[in-house]
Amino acid sequence: MEKLMQDLKEQIIQQLNLQEVKPEDIGDDQPLFKEGLGLDSIDALELIVLLQQHHNIRIAKPEDGPNIFYSVRTMAEYITAEKARQA
């Protein structure tokens, strides 16, 4: 899980072109949107693409998005659960 969260932070920075943000600046449980990292709705679409490109996961229910993308930890937990389900 720790390795996955570290990878996710690097992928988020690259995908969203977060200049001047380093992986260590993103807390595991820090909210990604609004008061946390300050991401917006376009970033949400970028994160959906990130899951597809890097983890081969498509989100079946869009309404689950806010929970999945709440933080790096919730994203990692979702990826882990989906990988287990696909296996």
Binding site: Q19, E46, V49, Q52
Partner: protein, 327 residues
Amino acid sequence: MIRNYEGDRLPVADPDYKQWIDIKQIRRMGRAIKMGVAASHMSLEAAGIRNPDAIIMGTAYGCLADTGVFLQKLVTQQEDMLTPTAFIQSTHNTVAGQIALLLGCHAYNNTFVHGAFSWKTRCKTACCFWQKILPAKSSRALLTRSQNTHIPFCAASDCIKISLRQICCTLPRQEPWQGGGRIFVLSAEKDEKSLAQLTAVEMLYRPASENETAQQLLAFLQRNGLQPSDISLLLSGRNGDERSDSYYEAVEKAIFNDTPVGAFKHFCGEYPTASAFAVWMAAGCLQRGKVPQEAMVKGDAPARVERILIWNHHQAKHHAFILLEKC
């Protein structure tokens, strides 16, 4: 500071865009967008206005490099997993759109992607804008101007800083390809921040010969009540290419024998909207009342600068005549 470059294409020297654009917004902007947004900030600040009555953009090829990136992804990813940011950056009118979004400007917004005629076309559009759409004298538009309506030119971005100050070209054929962003605020009324008056803009497409171009230039001046002797400085689009420059020589010999001739592409390089650089340069000369000797090709810099004619052509097909006057 002098920088040395090699090759036939010089990169634009990017300033620190964060001084004008929020870092959260900058990450979604391609280079052309950043240049446009930064230049719009500078020009509006110089003009002392918050929101223009129109945003009119002229870009030779749109955001072509970013369009290429998006189309490449479209192919390689088989139309799947396409990111919104790549799409936003790929659209031809995204610069004007971003400027409007950041300003909260809901006014007229248009972008012309007409290659070498883009800059001139947006000037023409401003003509229609003032004459037909916005009759109020106080109207102000970001970028552009019109024909025969004597609209004073308010202020211009100093985005020339983005381009190189001077290019010492050692290439045998022509000035290196360059790029840049220039944005102007035009107003129907003169104020203390006005640089110059943009009097007329016309385009000429595929004239049959140098003689026809000379006749068209004369007719252009006559339509504005002028003769060649009324021009303080002819600012020509010489680019170091003998094929192109001989065309300028022939026309100048025919009708501008006694007119001081300057050039501008040894300062900015060659690119499809280089006429905008010439307008910026001419406006500065008119405001200061002098022309730098480094700009001169024939004759000495004129002692008095009242009126500057810019004539630029691209491969002898696309010609632009732009007349600026002291205001």
